[in-house]
Amino acid sequence: MDERRSALQINNIEVMYHEVILALKGVSLEVPQGGIVGLLGANGAGKSTTLKAISGLLKHEDGEVTEGSIEFLGQRIDKKSAEEIAGLGIVQVIEGRRVFEHLTVEENLRVGAHLRGNGAHLRRGLDAVYHYFPRLKDRRDVQAGYLSGGEQQMTVIGRALMARPQIMLLDEPSMGLAPMLIKEIFEIITRLNREEGISILLVEQNVKLALATAPYAYVLENGRVVMDEPAEKLRENPDIRDFYLGLTDLGARKSFRAVKHYKRRKRWLT
């Protein structure tokens, strides 16, 4: 895929919840250093589970990586605690804009710097966040629970930035936001990647957006990777066009139900 050294490498992992529910059945994936990689798939495909397996949050939902391995810069991390993994510079932005709602915006950001200590780091971190999200600077003393959805999404991304990550795992940052805001937030994500050199693993259901942002993407289906290709190839792929982009060869847009039935017959659905 890319000649650059890989930052993150997932080798054929299997994930179980509660020791009985098999959520991932052999997922392999690679994020090159400084790259953006998309992770696509329908509801329940296992996208969030993949991110939680990387960040170690899985262990707190009674989940476990039972097979395979996860490596970050050549170091095995699948047995490490969430705290250690965050310390290595892997930060997950969990889905659903989970701000600390009773804390102010700035307090949220300060919690983001928890592992990085106070002092000069904190000041520089805050400056960087306010540089990328000037709107947060105006709202720094507002309780995060009262922010608009877009501002909350900015707060959680800014908060992750405070942890000075080498790689950010973003879970559906576009969910439930207006198109204008989505555009703004994705521009910032791209800038964070380019200007700060942060590698990004981007989970999205908005496939068009994801393929416009990530040069390479994986498609998950029922806990398996069913496709991984450069974005331009995926955009041309008839299955992706049908199912995710809603542009069928037959012309008319299909309802989700119809697409779902249709999808079952597709060859990449093992």
């Binding site: 960040s55 707190h60 969990i94 919690v111 983001g112 928890h114 592992l115 309780q143 992750a160």
Partner: protein, 294 residues
């Protein structure tokens, strides 16, 4: 009118001690969801440790500092040894563990310090009361009030301005999100227990100075329940206001109602009050309702 003011002022002063203990209770509940029924025994442990230091001739302020250090360590140990293995177990099972803890600590206290009432000897605070016009307040109340207030300010500043304080609040708000930023939930729980031990220890010590110290000071552990119910279980300001309100309520009911009842109204009033609050405001006065944006 003078009687009323007198009762009100001493009520607020005693209430500030309750507030301190209630804050400790709320902290554990907020951060880890544990409903702690051993709070009274935490106050006993702290109070007796401080009393021992004092009886050995250590000056009172140093005895308090020593008690705070021991309380901190005991808090960490309690979480590590008894509560950590209970993470993820049912709420009822965890409550039963705290009930077990309360018997355990009570046993330690009775075994180590006996069951007779002990007093701080010589008295820590001068016996000479303070007079404002016709209102007379014992110095022990005034100093207890000052000490409780200082502790409350220190704790609130800790939550607001320090790294761990903020991370504790963050964990209370959204544990998963806090974990994703590398905040260790175990450390947060341990810290909550440590702070609760320290707050309870100071509360117990101050009450011990007022009434003498025996196992019944552990009644404070029950008394925090109406205080935190009034405040809304998971609100720190609520716990503080709730504690003070319970102190005032106790004093007023003792002052005005005890002549109509055979006694004990002071002990019962807070609980009667709690029942009424629960009927009309099930989330207390400051309980968190999830913020819903409109």
């Amino acid at each position: 009118m003078d009687l009323f003011l007198q009762l009100l002022i001493t009520g607020v002063m005693v209430g500030s001690i309750y507030a301190l203990v209630a804050l400790g209770w709320t902290l554990i509940y907020k951060c880890s969801g544990v409903l702690n029924l051993a709070m009274g025994e935490l106050t006993l442990m702290g109070a007796y440790v401080c009393l021992s230091f004092y009886t050995w001739g250590i000056p009172f302020p140093l005895a308090v500092v020593g008690m705070l250090i021991i309380g901190f360590i005991l808090g960490l140990l309690t979480e590590r040894l008894f509560l950590r293995r209970m993470v993820g177990e049912s709420i009822l099972a965890v409550i039963m563990v705290t009930v077990g803890l309360s018997f355990f600590f009570r046993g330690i206290v009775a075994f180590t310090w006996g069951t007779d009432t002990r007093v701080f000897d010589p008295p820590v605070f001068p016996a000479e009361p303070i007079r404002w016009g016709r209102i007379v307040v014992g110095q022990v109340y005034v100093w207890s009030f000052v000490a409780a207030l200082v502790m409350l300010v220190v704790f609130v500043a800790f939550f607001k301005y320090t790294r761990w304080g903020l991370s504790m609040q963050a964990t209370a708000d959204d544990e998963m999100a806090a974990l994703s930023l590398g905040v260790s939930a175990h450390r947060v729980y341990a810290l909550a227990w440590a702070i609760a031990f320290m707050a309870a220890g100071v509360g117990g010590t101050l009450l011990g100075n007022i009434n003498g110290l025996n196992i019944s000071v552990g009644y404070l552990g029950l008394l925090v329940l109406p205080a935190v119910v009034l405040g809304g279980l998971n609100s720190v300001p609520g716990a503080i206001v709730g504690g003070i309100a319970i102190g005032v309520l106790q004093n007023l009911s003792a002052g005005y109602l005890s002549r109509f009842t055979p006694g004990g109204i002071k002990e019962i009033a807070p609980f009667a009050f709690m029942v009424i609050i629960l009927l009309f405001r099930p989330y207390g006065l400051w309980g968190w309702v999830k913020i819903e944006r409109v």
